[in-house]
Amino acid sequence: MVLALLIILAVLVFRSADRQSPDTLPLITRPLAGFSAPFVFGRFKVPANNPLTEETVELGRRLFYDVRLSGNNQISCASCHIQRLGFSDGKTTAEGISGKPLAFNSMSLANLLWGAEHFFWDGRADSLEQQALMPIQNVDEMGQNLEALVLELQADDQYPRLFNAAYGRISTVNIAKALASFERTLVSANSKYDQYLRGEVVLSKQEELGRKLFVAHPDVKTSLRGGNCIDCHSQFLTSGFKPLYDGFSNNGLDGEKALSPGLQAVTKDPAHRGFFKVPSLRNIAVTAPYMHDGRFASLEAVLDHYNEGIQMSPTLSPLIMEANNMERGHATQINLNLAAQEKAAIIAFLQTLTDPQFLNEEKFSNPFLARQTRSKLTAPDSKIPDSTIPEFTTPGSIE
C-alpha cells in the first residue's frame, strides 16, 4: 500500500516537473493585495481567465491613461472618464476623435463588479473585456486599428515588459483584459453614505429624510411617502439590478413617438424599447449632466422629471406609472407628488454618495503624471471582511 502510494507520488512529481517546458514559462503574478469591498455590496465575480493581479491592474491603469490607444494619439479612455468627475466628462454627450457629438453621455465608472452585467447605456457589451475594445475601434470615439495598436505598444520601451509580466504577450485580448482589470478595482466605498452604513457617522435630518424617501415606493394606503428611487436603484449599490436585463428600464424620458430603441437595439425585444441602463448613483453630484443623452443639467432637473415630467409610452415602467404620494383619483397624469422639501431632501441624500477618497485616490490616477512615491498599488488601511463569498453551494447534510 505504502509502496503504491510512493510510486503514485513519484509519478506525480515527475509529471509536474516534465510539464514545465522552457517555451511555456508560467506567469509569476501576485494577486492584488488588499482588494476588498463592503459586504453590503454582495458577492462579486472576477472572470477565472482574468484574475485581478498587481501586474494586470498596473498595466490596465497605464493603458487607461495612454493616448496611444486612439488613432491620432490624442485621446485616452480618461479623456471621457475623468477621475475627479467620477470618471465621467461633464459633457452632454461624449466627444471623440472625429469631434462629432456621440449618441450617449459618458457613463461614470464605479463599482463595476456589481450591478447589471451588461455595459453601455444600451447594454451592447456583455463584459468589461468586451466593452473595453469597442470605443477604441469606433471611428468617432478613439478611431484606432487594433493591429496598429499592438504594433505601437510592441515598439514601446515599457509595454513589452508589462504585458509579459501580466499576460505573457501583447495582444488585443490582453489589452481588453488589462483595461477590465483596472476598471474592476474602481471601488467607491467611502462616501458619507458608506460611513453611515458602517455606523461611523450620522446623516443630517434632511439627508435621513432623503434616504428614507430614496428607499421607499410610496403607498398612500399606509401613509408611506416615497421617492420611488429604489424600484430601479438598489439600496446599497444604488446601481441597477444584476440578473439578465433587470438593470434596464424605461424611465419615462420620452413619449411613444420620440422613444428611441435603447435596449431593444440589442435584444430585438419590443418590450425593451426605450430601456436604458440604470446607472450607479455613486458620485452622482459630480457626474452632471444626467441621463443617457445628458439632457438634464442638474439633480433638480432630474427630480423634477421623476416628480412631474414622466412621459407615457407602452414600455414605461408600471412602477413609475403607479407611484404617487397622493390619491390619484381619476387623474390620468402621472405625478409622484413630492413636496419641494422632499425633493431637496432626496438631493441632499444623493450628495452623501460623493466619495472624495475615490475621486482623489492615487492608484486610480494618471500614472504618467504620478509622483515618484507611487511605484506600486498599495492596500487600503482597513480591510472589510465578507467580500469574497464563494459562488457555489455546499452539499447538504442529513439529519
Binding site: 507520488l9 494577486p31 429604489i230 439600496q235
Partner: protein, 258 residues
C-alpha cells in the same frame, strides 16, 4: 491564479498529496457508504388554462372588468427539504429566485449530491423565513441589492408581479409586491403516488415537475378585482389577501397531470 516555479510546484504537489493521504487515513470518506443522486425540480408557469406569455394583454381580470398583462413575475422559493424513511435532507442556503422569462416559461433547479433515498415528501416555502428576511447578507439568491429587496428594514418581496390592466382601452399599472414575514408560506407535497408508481425501486426519483398558476394569485381563497385593487405593497391586509392565494399557486404534476 498563482503560478509557481518548478521547485515550488514539486513541493506543493508533495505536500498536497500527503495532506490527501492523511485525510484518507483519518477516515473522512463517508461517500463510500451513502450513495448520492441529483434531483431536478422544474416549475412551469401558466395563467389558469392558458400559457404564460409576457407583455400580452389577454388574461381576464378574475374579479371584474378588463384583461391583464404580465410584464414581470418572480418569486422566492426557499428552504427545500426532502423527507425519507431514514431522515431529512435540507438544501443549504436554500433561497432561489424563480423567474419564467425564458423560452419554456419555466424555472429549473437541481439538487445535487443528495443522498439516495425513498423520499416521502418534499417541502419548500414561498418567501423568506423571518431570520433571513431581516438580514443584509447575501445567501443563496438573496441579495439586498436585488430587485426582490425592499429597504433593509422591510425585507424581501416574496412575490413580484408587475403588469397592466386594460379596461375600455385604458391601460393602468398593476403592481403586486407581497412580502412580510407573516406571509411566509411553507408547502408540503407528498411523493407517495409518484414513488409508488416507480416500479423499479432501484431507480431513484430524478425529476419532479410543478405547475405555477399565476391566476391563483388573484383567484383562490380570495377573488380579486384588479381594477379595485391594482396594487399591493405595504398594506398588511391586502398583502395577506394575495398571500392566502399564492399558498395554492403551486401544484405537483403526477402521471403527466398537474
Amino acid at each position: 491564479m498563482i503560478n509557481i516555479s518548478g521547485q515550488g510546484k514539486l513541493f506543493i504537489t508533495a505536500v498536497s498529496f500527503l495532506l490527501l493521504l492523511s485525510l484518507m487515513v483519518t477516515g473522512c470518506a463517508p461517500q463510500k457508504s451513502s450513495k448520492t443522486q441529483s434531483l431536478n425540480l422544474t416549475f412551469k408557469a401558466v395563467v389558469g388554462s392558458q400559457a404564460l406569455v409576457f407583455n400580452r394583454t389577454h388574461y381576464a381580470n378574475p374579479g371584474g372588468d378588463g384583461q391583464f398583462k404580465v410584464r414581470d413575475f418572480q418569486f422566492i422559493l426557499s428552504n427545500i427539504k426532502l423527507r425519507s424513511d431514514t431522515g431529512v435532507y435540507r438544501q443549504p442556503d436554500s433561497y432561489h429566485i424563480a423567474r419564467f422569462d425564458n423560452a419554456g416559461t419555466s424555472f429549473t433547479l437541481v439538487l445535487d449530491n443528495i443522498p439516495v433515498g425513498n423520499y416521502r415528501d418534499i417541502d419548500f416555502s414561498i418567501g423568506v423565513d423571518p431570520e433571513a428576511n431581516s438580514s443584509r447578507r447575501s445567501v443563496g439568491d438573496l441579495d439586498p441589492n436585488s430587485r426582490m429587496a425592499w429597504s433593509w428594514d422591510v425585507g424581501y418581496k416574496f412575490i413580484l408581479f408587475e403588469g397592466g390592466l386594460n379596461r375600455h382601452d385604458v391601460l393602468s399599472p398593476l403592481v403586486y409586491h407581497v412580502g412580510f414575514s407573516e406571509n411566509y408560506r411553507a408547502l408540503r407535497f407528498p411523493l407517495s403516488n409518484i414513488t409508488a408508481n416507480n416500479k423499479n425501486s432501484e431507480k431513484p426519483l430524478t425529476r419532479l415537475v410543478f405547475r405555477v398558476d399565476l391566476m391563483r394569485l388573484f383567484k383562490g381563497v380570495n377573488t380579486i378585482d384588479m381594477g379595485a385593487l391594482p396594487s399591493v405593497k405595504f398594506d398588511k391586509d391586502d398583502a395577506k389577501l394575495i398571500a392566502d392565494n399564492f399558498q395554492g399557486m403551486i401544484t405537483l404534476c403526477q402521471r403527466g397531470a398537474c
